[in-house]
Amino acid sequence: MRFRRDRWAMASLVFIGLLVILAFAAPLIATISGHGPNELFRDMTDDFGLPKGPNGSFWFGADGSGRDVLVRIAYGARVSLIVGVVATGVAVLIGVTLGLIAGYRGGVIDTLISRTADIVLSLPLLLFAIGIVTACGSSREGCFGGTVQPGLTLVIIVIALFSWPYVAKIVRGAVLSLREREFVEASRSVGAGDLTIMFREILPNLVSVIIVYASLLVPQNILFEAYLSFLGLGVPDSTPSWGRMISDASDIFDVAWWLMLFPGIFLLLTVLAFNLLGDGLRDALDPKADR
């Protein structure tokens, strides 16, 4: 299989595997180091509340509240992975469904879905992220009739809300060409209904496209979460997130480089790994797009 031969993609897979292990083993790291992710160590900040750098028991130093950066990075991997995967999953689910319907049904439904996607894509996303996060965080019951509370779920919803159009557009395009393929007509000629055609005939042919785009969307969404957290709109503080850690560092990066460097490197490597994986999958599953 082509994918196996792609050394970089395999390396990425290994890295992602390690990352998953890191995420799962975060409590273990906390136990070994003896530092909880939200445990405050007074002596790791100085009189001015500035964090202290790496030392023997704090390998990656401490943050402004005296918490262990290494332990928090391990926990942060959870957020990045969860957000990256779940938000992408939700986006793919919405995008595939809408794209399939738009492409297959065409006409007014297609126009409606495609235009909605266009509008969503032309929105300044962060603006709406700010608006939604603020609106949902301002009262006890959250927003959308109390169904949504700020936090990880909201972040995932916001990200999914803004990334489904990419999937929908791709899927729609693929469906448009698949719809014209003779096997669809063949299926219709033997009496298959629309649902059968959509889900039994067309959908299986989209699998590789979907896998490829999902794998390319994952790193984007990991970055998106980091951007939101960087701007103070991400997950709650008790949940360590790499974006938020870098954000915390942004005021004191010149006196606490470790606060910026380590989470940043993890974020970069993770995104890089997913991108490489996506590229590898694309090359393997879609030989036409061999580049």
Binding site: E39, L40, D47, G49, G137, S138, P236, S238
Partner: protein
Amino acid sequence: GGDDSGDSDTDGGGDTAAAKGGIYRVGTTDFGFNGGFDPSGEYLGWAWGLYSNLLTRQLTGYRHTEGAAGSEVLPDLAEAIPEATDGGTTWTFKIKKGVKFAPPVNREVTSKDIAYAFERIGTGSVVAQYGFYYNDIVGMAEFKDGKAKTIAGITTPDDSTIVFKTTKPVGDFPFRLAMPATGPFPKEVAGCFTKAGEYGRYLIASGPYMIKGSDALDITSCKTMKPISGFNPTKQLSLVRNPNYDAATDSTERREALPDGFEFIINTNDKDIFDKIEAGEYEDSVDAVPPDVARRYSGDDALKDRLKGNQDDRTNYIYMNLAEAPFDDVNVRKAVNWIMDKDALRKAWGGPFYGEIATHIAPATLYPGSTALDGYDPYATENSAGDLAKAQEAMKASAYDTDKDGVCDADACKDVLFMNRSIDPYVKMTPIIRDALGKIGITVKVRELPTGPAYESSGVIANRIQAGSNAGWGKDYPDASTFMVLFDGRNILPTGNSGYALVGLTAAQAKEFKIDYPKGGVPSVDADIDKCSEEVGNARSDCWAALDKKLMEEVVPWVPYLHVNNTTLLGPAVTKWDYDQFSGEAAYAHVAVDPSKQK
């Protein structure tokens, strides 16, 4: 206050004698005006400092210096502060002669210009944000409602006399007259601008400085007036000497007016501002000194003197909502006071340089002449780091600790909705608060919102925020009453409420706001407030101090944790600097620069 700071009224580190001349440059990331710089509505302390130090003169004023001396009210435009007559309800002021408005108005300030200031306060569209201080003037309500063309309680028998009548004795009336909204407004200019904030760009000075370019204002009609060039709200505010200012009508005790001009420059990069101050490109900043800069300067004897930290008469506190479980139980509130690591909270702000740990509601400076609060700390713990044993003891007394182990076990203590801001240093306090509360069984669900939305959200009662650390309060003038308004049950509003603890909430109000009223009721201090309001002098201070103690021990609506300092770094060219206790910023009226050291 401010004993960690260098002594404030010494020279700014240079040995050159303070001299006239030079331009004093101040960097700021943002002006932050909330009333468009129109004194009628502007409610920003720093802006008040600009008016009072440099631009406008009110009937009364201050010395613009640090500490108690700076909190004493003095006559400014008025020749003297009169005694109130008619049982404390009539105040007759004589205005000094020879005080002129800056160009292009160029005429003498009269009592009509003061009276007009009050008309503006009473004009809804101007949005006088602190107009409520003048609601006790006779006829103000009628004027506001449009039922009267003039304010009955303000009369100007002649150009140099103005008489105020109040509906009840107002002990702190002279303080209220020192606020910029009451300063003289030339109606020929200000009358053109009666929408909120508009006048800010046409401000006509009566003090030693004016906005650069104000002499070019064409005042022949409202239409011909174009914003004064020296003020660009997103870039710069430049002040030059007011040629019509006659120092003889003023005193150097109040204003020395040494530099030839001021420049307040927006520079959005905080780090760059302090780099520039270090390099001598700015003299001063409005923004707080970042902890890393403070650390560097305070560790260097040569630079130490340029670092200033001054008590700002502000209290930062964690509030608890008395109408919401578990904080409807005073024992829980006490336990929270006991457990909170105030030292760690202060560290989040940058450590001791950034203020004194608060042990009661209003800063001690607001109780002039009273010693009642000296050394007062009802929840004293070692290093102010919190005391688990005492906290658990308090918690045991609460109904929410059913098994009496000192850890709250009721559902009410789970997922407590806790409001905070999403900016530094507030975000850095979140883990500390979470950690502390966790020890007594209270788990919090923290909402971090930008400053504005956080306030707005806390101010909506229906949002039922249970507690929060997004709050801080500063005085308007040196009187404890300006803090106690937060505990006046009659001030509680369904939205826009500022007393987040809801002290004094009545069952009727609760019904009106559609929230549950706690079984045990909510304590009220309304009567205490009414009593103290009428007092004057030391008795007034003692009265407020007693109320402060009562709040801390019996009502316990807050965990006050920090009296925040105003922190300043001075440039190498500053030869004289003082702190203005009134505005909580530099006393621009008393600063001086040495142009030869400027870059």
